[in-house]
Symmetry: C2
Subunit: 331 residues, 2 copies
């Protein structure tokens, strides 16, 4: 294993130190292990936080800032944040108007966010939890009861973040977050496994001519292992999977082609071209698009597609200004 | 080789088709092979174009847009664009006020941009050429007479792009581009080689415990092959190399920690933390920072450091609004 690290045990903490050095507009709390907007909590504003295992950067700390998250609590690599850490991030985001927890559907995350929400409740904070479970590949998975939460997390955080920024109340922010999740579907394909710093070797074996179809963002098994094939055939697989699970109608779509960490941008754009052609041929209307590494799996070569059936209001919130390390426009 | 491609011969063209689908604010000319701002040429504005081999995305097409490049002409993977293609991009950017060519110092690029400038001159266009040669690793290289052009290209394009957007004349835009290049130094380390679609195998052999110190963005040999070591020691190597070649004084610095394509963002931030600590200890002042994949080498695992000794005016131009696929703020 060759990685730019010192000791595997210090990777997350040292990466956070780098994040703090690079982004003075964030407040990185190395002791309590959360990252917040420097100006959080904002008086009167509903707080929006998220968290989960590290290794999916820029998710979540890269999405902290005006128009998106108030705080993020990253756990160790592929490991849920602990309840006290989530509680600390919740308090950092709370200005009395309540806090929405955006939780990807993994067993550890769900449990620890629930415990944190109970602790917050005991302290008189109002918390609403929004579960993200957009990955249509499998019904249950290694670390999951129900569908996994993946790429749609970005869309949930962006759109709910925009509504919170406008001053909407707790119920409204949670409701739009749930709506985005319901209207989103994701599906991923891996060309290689990823290597965690602690393990030091790839998380699973994949032959030189094989791909994992429907892979999870921790390298969890997908639907099938198949032979490598041209990009246009992989694009068809991915679009079919999304279409079958959540049929795409005439709604304007937000489409994200996301790199899992080790795939060159050239290939992501090539895949976006194939996917957009297939969607157009199916009568779909791509209203907004995003191509890049946003919800990653360390150094895994692979890509995921996320499609959200939007409407005018969701597009308006998507377009609203955002100023975070990884997503920034209009500000 | 597993890549999201169809035929290696079609990769660049198909990636451009995807770029066009994802970015309606760009005009992608698939026949003449250039990418331009949809509103280019802008009356009265000096044009700014760049180009070079593909495989370094988002460089250069990802930097086309208001506040940065008017057009980019990407060649095939690791291959210079041809003179006619550069001429077409030059014309697309020309509004009568002249065009600046930003050329990374590689033999093929230098020759073809020179031929294109001569063709443009014959047609009555005014062109000024700015050579970028910031990579301090080696004096001459496989594909280069003199130092290679790498990470500083982004800084040159951003800062000259901002000045051009303000309405500065041809000489002034070329002058600030040259100034940024002179004041910048870069140095890269590779953990793995990259694989071009055409070759189908890694461009060089690197043992499981070895790193290439001073590597070029095409995988050209660097200064030495060394044993893998902790991030803090690699950071020291990189900072020393930059410091020795272009000593850092009291000026405010723009610091970029750039991923070469296959390195997770977590490791880039960890490296930024190490590098910023070393720079602070040396009395340097980091005024602006950028961490991410900007000047890449396909799927190569590795990173580069670029340091630019700025001043108030260069920082002002750096902060100016920019709206491109890969770099966007204030717009």
């Amino acid at each position: 294993m060759k990685k730019f690290i010192n000791d595997p045990a210090d990777v997350v903490r040292e990466a956070h130190a780098g994040l703090a050095a690079a982004h003075p507009e964030l407040r990185v709390n190395l002791d309590e292990q959360f990252v917040a907007r420097a100006d959080a909590p904002r008086p009167g504003k509903v707080g929006l936080i998220s968290g989960g295992g590290s290794g999916h950067e820029p998710l979540h700390a890269g999405f902290v800032g005006p128009g998106m998250l108030d705080a993020a609590c990253p756990g160790e690599v592929f490991t849920s944040p602990v309840p006290d850490q989530i509680l600390a991030a919740t308090k950092a985001a709370d200005a009395g108007a309540g806090v929405v927890h955006v939780v990807k559907n993994y067993t550890g995350d769900v449990m620890n966010f629930q415990l944190a929400a109970e602790l917050a409740d005991e302290e008189g904070l109002r918390v609403q939890t929004v579960l993200v479970d957009d990955d249509v590949a499998v019904e249950d998975s290694t670390w999951t009861a129900g569908r996994r939460g993946t790429g749609a997390t970005l869309l949930v955080e962006k759109i709910a973040g925009a509504l919170a920024e406008e001053g909407a109340d707790l119920d409204a922010v949670a409701a739009v977050a749930r709506l985005v999740n319901e209207r989103s579907a994701s599906f991923a394909v891996a060309l290689t496994a990823c290597t965690t710093p602690a393990a030091g070797k790839p998380g699973f074996d994949l032959a030189a001519d094989e791909i994992e179809v429907g892979v999870g963002i921790h390298g969890e098994p997908g639907r099938s292992r198949q032979k490598m094939r041209p990009a246009r055939e992989i694009a068809a697989l991915v679009v079919d999977a999304v279409q079958s699970a959540k049929p795409i109608g005439p709604e304007p779509l937000i489409v994200m082609v996301n790199g899992l960490g080790g795939t060159p941008q050239m290939e992501l754009y090539l895949m976006f071209g194939e996917i957009s052609r297939l969607l157009h041929d199916a009568g779909a209307q791509i209203a907004r698009s995003l191509v890049g590494n946003y919800v990653t799996s360390l150094d895994m070569a692979g890509m995921s597609l996320t499609v959200c059936r939007a409407d005018d209001e969701l597009l308006r919130l998507w377009d609203a200004p955002v100023h975070t390390p990884a997503l920034r426009w209009g500000a």
